[in-house]
């Protein structure tokens, strides 16, 4: 059954879209990630114009992060102050990202920038995750054989501690400058606008390793920031570029919700390290597929860029 998407202006199979939503939702429920980094390339692959795919995906992440953010808020595993500081950066990043997006669209380079950012981010994140999970599996095996847990060195003072504008974050138990969280929020905001991802895969490691936040509040705080930044991005993309497709977003939300529930149940049965290694392999596979698209000789050496009403 075909369904016509009013903003994407293409006709797509309804069950393909629902299946895609369930599939990506399953993976995101299983691995506890947003899934935007898988959904956006998949949408582009089935013919959704990249600007519509990225903006609509931001809209879908609003739905997938709202329930998680609420749950963490209820359980108080969320540093609201840190979230708000991240959000300040996020708002600046997302706003400039949306304008950067329309500029790149006019220059005809948006597809290239989307692909390049995906290859760069997925490549480095996937490689880091893979190395980390393989090490974790090794350590676990060693422990099982009666080995000793490797000792962590005492944390040293570094350049982050020398920055001004220090403030206290009571929930995280930190006393630090607001500049690093604002910069992290800003970078993630740009990622949301340009790549259509929540940015959790960048923010969570940054919060743990750079801000040294306690792990129990990291996920909740990152979901809090993602919820507001994706909501703002959706609004701005709709206002500036008219690229949010409500019909597409709704179908992805429906599929995603069902898939996430199934995935969460399946994920509970698998060990965390193996799960992370599997996710790393998926991330690297998507990265390689996109990289291949950049370097492989194309079938068509020309491309048409619709001027979108007013030409520059």
């Amino acid at each position: 059954m075909q369904i016509y998407l009013p903003i994407a202006e293409i006709s797509v199979n309804l069950f393909l879209l629902l299946g895609l939503g369930i599939g990506v939702g399953f993976l995101s429920g299983m691995f506890g990630v947003g899934g935007g980094f898988l959904m956006t390339p998949a949408l582009i692959l089935i013919g959704v114009p990249p600007p519509v795919a990225v903006s609509t995906q931001a809209n879908q992440i609003v739905a997938s992060s709202v329930s998680g953010a609420l749950a963490h808020f209820r359980r108080k595993t969320l540093d609201v102050k840190m979230g708000l500081v991240l959000l300040v950066g996020g708002v600046i990043g997302s706003t400039s990202g949306v304008f950067l997006f329309s500029l790149l669209q006019r220059l005809g380079q948006i597809d290239l920038v989307i692909s390049l950012s995906y290859v760069g981010f997925l490549g480095s994140i996937g490689a880091l995750m893979f190395i980390e999970s393989v090490n974790a599996i090794r350590v676990r095996r060693k422990l099982a054989r009666g080995g000793q847990m490797p000792r962590r060195g005492r944390r040293k003072r570094n350049w982050i501690d020398t920055l001004p504008l220090k403030t206290r974050f009571p929930v995280s138990g930190l006393y630090m400058s607001v500049i690093p969280p604002i910069v992290i929020g800003l970078l993630v905001g740009i990622l949301v606008a340009v790549m259509g991802v929540g940015g959790g895969f960048v923010m969570v490691p940054a919060m743990i390793y750079m801000l040294r936040m306690p792990t129990n509040v990291v996920v909740g705080t990152s979901l809090f920031q993602i919820l507001f930044v994706t909501a703002l991005t959706t609004f701005l993309q709709a206002a500036q570029n008219q690229t949010v497709d409500i019909v597409l977003a709704f179908l992805l939300i429906v599929g995603g919700v069902v898939g996430a529930q199934l995935g969460a149940r399946a994920g509970a049965k698998v060990k965390a390290e193996e799960l992370r290694a599997a996710l790393a392999i998926i991330v690297l596979a998507v990265c390689l597929a996109l990289a291949w698209g950049l370097v492989a000789t194309p079938n068509e050496f020309y491309e048409i860029i619709e001027a979108g009403g007013q030409a520059t």
């Binding site: 009013p6 809209n59 329930s67 909501a231 206002a239 008219q242 977003a249 048409i304 860029i305």
Partner: protein, 275 residues
Amino acid sequence: MTRYLRHLFAAVVLAAWAAFAAHGAPPEGDPPPADILAALTEETVQIRSNFAGAEITLYGAVRGFEEGDDIAIAVRGPARDVRVMQKVRTLGIWINRAPIRFESVPGYYAVAATAPLSEFASFSALRRNSLGTGHVYLSAPETESLETRFGVSDVRVSTLGAEIVDYREALVRIKNRDGLYYEASDGVELIEGGLFSAEVRLPPRTPVGIYQADVYLFRDGEPIASRRVALRVEKAGIERLIYEMAHNSPLAYGLVAVILAVVSGWGAAEIFRRR
């Protein structure tokens, strides 16, 4: 009564004059050698949520049709400016470079005829009426200059030289791949005594707007009569509502999109929590 008739007569003459004026006046004095009547099975194509392309029939009759005459029809969609970019390998990856802007490119262009175009029409007639995918009028004003060549002034010359041809061909090729440009040399069916019909395929990607279908009667390589009918492609129902809201009140649309996502995400989580 006589006044009524006079009005009616005036209206008919006016309509006929308007139809001819649109295609240049016929040679003065001579009665037109032939005349075309044409209509579409649907004058409005509506894009609804189950739209997956459409097929409509253009049919009509030629008065004064003679053995050996040929019919060609051209359907042109709403014109837009587009840019064509060339992919160039830079540091190992393919990057879009060297954009060329083409003005008023038809978003849809279909030609159907009773025989291959070059068999019954002269090259200049095809070029003049931009008939055939090789003759679509594609103008890139930024790359053109007017020069005097061989003593002829104001000759349009591309500053790109032969390269512009590659761009033009690429534009037609890409549109053809998407089903938006095509040429069917046996697309017009002659029934008998000048009755004809042709199928027009609109792909799912077909642009919204006013289309013009021109019917040409060819005799001895030249078009001797033509007729234009209009076709409208529009979004309808919920698709139209959404599209218009997104473009006319983008702020409200953005808010609705966010609220919809918050409510459905939260609602779904509640449903699963209860179970």
